[in-house]
């Protein structure tokens, strides 16, 4: 946002509008062009909301990795698999490209998202001016890459939908897949609620004060 010019920029459509000189209690501003809600920097609860979503995601990350996500039964025999054992089975079968895709999408990306978003939040709260361009780029990458974690959930959906041959072969979904999907959804919401302009704004406001 461009607060120093008393102008507000809409996050959705980019339209500029003049900030009102005074806001009544509970009064809400809307973008004159697209109608999305506008917030002043001091009204922003972005950091708190993002922390809440991140903490929820971090808690759910534990059952997502320790509970089984799906079970494959062949001729009556089989056992539930967690994400890690699933990757291990793929490696055993010699399908290392697949193992790599699943490992990156299901383990590396969610962990990386939890860490980078926490790092960005802490740097915003500490009013850091350190490498703002790079932190902005880091945010963009985190925001973009998060949705690809859903690939494991889709694979489970396709396998359970397709492999239903009774005793011969069957794939069932397990509770871990629900926690895993919840982690992906929560981190996606967290990336969305984090107002990336705070990375710039803090430095700007301090420049004006000094």
């Amino acid at each position: 946002m461009a607060e120093n010019e008393a102008l507000l920029q809409c996050r959705v459509c980019g339209c500029l509008s003049h900030a009102p000189t005074q806001l009544k209690r509970f009064e809400v501003m809307h973008c004159p062009r697209c109608g999305a809600r506008l917030k002043l920097a001091q009204q922003s609860t972005s950091v708190e909301e993002t922390w809440a979503l991140l903490i929820a995601a971090a808690i759910l990350y534990i059952p997502a990795n320790f509970l089984p996500i799906m079970s494959v039964y062949m001729l009556g025999a089989g056992q539930p698999d967690t994400i890690i054992t699933g990757v291990y089975h793929l490696l055993e079968a010699g399908q290392w490209p697949l193992a790599l895709i699943v490992f990156v999408a299901s383990i590396v990306v969610p962990l990386l998202k939890l860490f980078t978003l926490s790092f960005l939040l802490i740097s915003i709260q500490r009013r850091s001016r350190w490498r703002q361009h790079d932190r902005m780029r880091l945010y963009r990458i985190t925001e973009y890459v998060g949705r690809w974690s859903m690939v494991d959930v889709f694979v489970i959906a396709i396998l359970t939908g397709l492999v239903q041959f009774g005793n011969l072969a069957r794939v069932d979904a397990n509770l871990g897949s629900l926690s895993f999907a919840a982690v992906v959804v929560l981190t996606m919401f967290a990336a969305r609620t984090l107002d990336e302009h705070l990375i710039w704004d803090v430095a700007q406001q301090e420049e004006e004060l000094t």
Binding site: M1, A2, E5, L7, Q9, V12, C13, G14, C15, L16, R33, C34, G35, A36, L90, Q95, L98, I101, V102, H133, M136, E143, G146, R147, W148, M150, V151, D152, V153, F154, V155, I156, A157, I158, L159, T160, G161, L162, V163, Q164, F165, L168, A169, D172, A173, S177, L178, A181, V185, M188, R192, H197, W200, D201
Partner: protein, 217 residues
Amino acid sequence: MQTILYADLIASFMSVSAEPIACQECGQLHRYSPLALGKTANCRRCGALLYRNRPDMLDSVLALTLAGLTLFVLTNVFPLLGLRAQGAEQELHLLGASLAFWDQGYPLLAGLIILNIIIFPLFELLTLLVVVLTIRYHWRSSTAIFLFRWMREFKPWGMLEVFMLGVLVAVVKLGDLATLIVGAAFWSFAGLVLTMAAATTLLDPFSVWRALGKNNG
């Protein structure tokens, strides 16, 4: 050097009355000035794209949207994958993949997947259609503004290309277990992913918002 300074000088005189715009990335203020065909404008501070002037943007997006809607219907009507094992056969439709979790007792997950691979992509295609027609025929734009705003908000939640990767992973996984039949919807689905990616790349949100904002009211 001389020419650049001179150009800057002219630009600053000409754009006194031009509308102010701000970079979506860093908030840097600029003044809007129309571009020559095929040119792009970037933020002078952070280099982010501000706006473009693509030749025939509206017509290309309209063509891609109509193709996308056709492929969307085909993808939902025909089976995506089939599996044959010991005489028995199973078929999977796009909707079936979403509902698989429902049968397993996870209705929340089923709902999420239906949103990801059916509702949001369809919403995006229909919105593009309405937006392009609204700009082309100078209709009142309040509906298009409403739809376009929510389409932009929902954009990350439409996950066709992620699902495509999921299909490929599943195909490789099942390949050595049983006879896999690749359905007609598999190909239309691949086409749909490409069409929607092309429409997203061609569409310049700034130009769309500007055009919609003018027709408003």
